[in-house]
Amino acid sequence: MNANPIDLRAKTHWVWRETLAVHRRSPETRLASSLSPIEIFVALYYGGVLRFDPAQPLAEHRDRCIISKGHGSICMYPILADLGFFPMEELQRVCQTGSFLGGIPDPVIPGYETVNGSLGHGLGVATGMALGLKRKGSDRRVFVVVGDGELHEGANWEAIMFASQHGLDNLHLIVDDNGISMLGYTDDIVSHDPLAVRLSAFGWDCMEVDGHDVAAVQAALLQMKASCAGKPKALIARTLKGHGVPGLENAQLSHIMNPKPELIDSLLEQQP
């Protein structure tokens, strides 16, 4: 897993294409919110950040990765299949009878830790796991991926306060800060700005990064992981919802927009 930035960029593009292809076959999936965190997941899973074992997804020696923004993580389907968590053929059956890959991922999927998609739960559960790992004397880490819209759920802030109170420096929060929830721009709804300042004020070490520069995301994650200074850590990844899809990218209602099949087909034909 010594992927260099070039490999990661290629992988990012492959995941982007495969995510479009999954959505083309299964339009019930949420596309726009699954395109913004691709670099985050590629850096986590291919960039030497997470320790995992596809043959034993819940092995004690894994790092825990909680994907709280469930419906906005369909890009994880090709990643998990590619890494061997389940066969690649499963990608052909998303949302179909008998498949375990639904419109919103469930913990029956190998590689998914908890219930997600109902927003605002992942960080609190991750906080409990981080505390449990500390008390067990384990050096394993906990990563949580949330959306910025999801931070409107107050339970997150209970967990944010708790994590700093207990110095959970094995806990890593990654915010897919695409700036859009279902009905519009989060800045117009209830703004988190300035999120890094807010998290810092709550006792977290906070970094910001261009979430579509996969090498920068990887570097930030590795730096975060290396530093354990008695504080929980957050990475705010500035991303674009619907990244790379004309008409969808950063559109106010992108969460509930489905690009036309012909557009997806043309995008898939354009680039290898």
């Binding site: 913990p107 029956v108 830790e113 908890t114 219930v115 109902s118 739960h121 960080l123 609190g124 559960v125 991750a126 906080t127 409990g128 796991m129 981080a130 505390l131 449990g132 790992l133 008390r135 067990k136 107050g154 339970a155 209970e158 967990a159 306060m161 708790f162 207990h166």
Partner: protein, 321 residues
């Protein structure tokens, strides 16, 4: 076993405290709710005691995370808050997740029914049985005294899955003086009667036993059953116990006709095809702000001793006609 009545929570907390020395896997989480016995846990096991603050949503999620890491978790708060403030956390992170993950989280809710007598409806709890029994995988346990409450410790550590323990906040008279009821049966027959059986849970078992005494003096022998495991009782044995009666009276310190023990018994009787009539005694579905003793409040809402005695007497007479 103590010979004087104790608070349910203190007895269970003492059992937990005793076990935490040997069992390194027990973790105790509170939402800033205490008791003198809890101070021992806090002092002696600071590494496995955590106060999340007044934050019940996080109480549940942190407990779920600890359980996923293999801990047997006891989560502790006031009953209406540990059930209703964080209901979706319980649904998602406990009921739903325990479907596919081994987890052991025991929610201890203190303050069943009217037990916080002068605190009013925010701190009283009449909805929790309904809400918690609506969730698959969540076991609802409702003891009537400190002996049965303490005995539940064994059930908490030996059975995986989420559980809700509905505890009274007051020190109630001891009922199980000769030993705890059989946890595997889930209910306990205190008296046998002729035509009517009272099925009660929690505090209302005390009322049921007194009413049965009063009725006995008037020549009516009624049965009394303590239903303390509302989710997992021995169904065949309960059917046998109930099948000889013409009438069954449910008694709960919770809303009547809103999915509590009354509904559970209705469903049970219907499924089992028992030919029996039912009378349900519970709190009428309104929130009230009157102050008074618990007995006075109970009379106001139809679940006090005198009210129950009248209702059951009328019910017995109606069965005879």
């Amino acid at each position: 076993m103590s010979i004087k009545p104790l608070a349910m929570r203190d007895v269970l907390l003492d059992r937990i405290w005793q076990a935490m020395e040997e069992d390194q896997k027990i973790f105790f989480v509170t939402a800033d709710f205490g008791s003198p016995v809890l101070d021992k846990i806090r002092a002696d096991f600071p590494q496995r005691f955590v106060n999340v603050g007044i934050a019940e949503q996080n109480l549940i999620n942190v407990s779920a995370g600890l359980a996923l890491e293999g801990y047997t978790v006891f989560a502790y708060a006031i009953a209406p808050f540990i059930t209703m403030r964080c209901y979706e956390q319980i649904r998602v992170s406990l009921a739903l997740l325990s479907e596919v993950r081994p987890m052991n989280v025991n929610l201890i809710g203190v303050g069943a029914g009217y037990s916080y007598v002068v605190s009013g409806p925010t701190h009283q709890c009449y909805e929790d049985i309904t809400l918690m029994r609506a969730l698959p995988n969540v076991r609802v346990l409702s003891p009537a005294d400190h002996v049965s409450a303490g005995a539940l410790f064994v059930r908490c550590v030996s059975t995986m899955g989420p559980k809700y323990l509905r505890f009274d906040a007051q020190v109630l008279p001891m009922i199980y003086e000769t030993g705890a009821p059989d946890l595997d049966v889930g209910f306990h027959i205190h008296r046998s009667g002729r035509s009517v059986c009272l099925v009660a849970t929690g505090y209302m078992l005390h009322t049921a036993l007194k009413v049965a005494e009063s009725l006995s003096a008037a020549g009516h022998l009624v049965g009394v059953i303590d239903l303390f495991d509302i989710s997992n009782f021995a169904a065949d044995q309960l059917e046998t116990a109930l099948s000889s009666y013409a009438g069954i009276v449910t008694l709960e310190e919770g809303f009547r006709g809103r999915g509590g023990v009354d509904a559970m018994l209705f469903e049970f009787i219907a499924r089992r095809g028992l030919d029996v009539r039912m009378l349900n005694i519970g709190v009428e579905g309104t929130y009230r702000f009157e102050l008074g003793s618990r007995a006075e409040l109970h009379e106001q809402v139809g679940i006090g001793h005198n009210s129950v005695l009248r209702s059951v007497t009328t019910f017995i007479q109606s069965l005879a006609n």
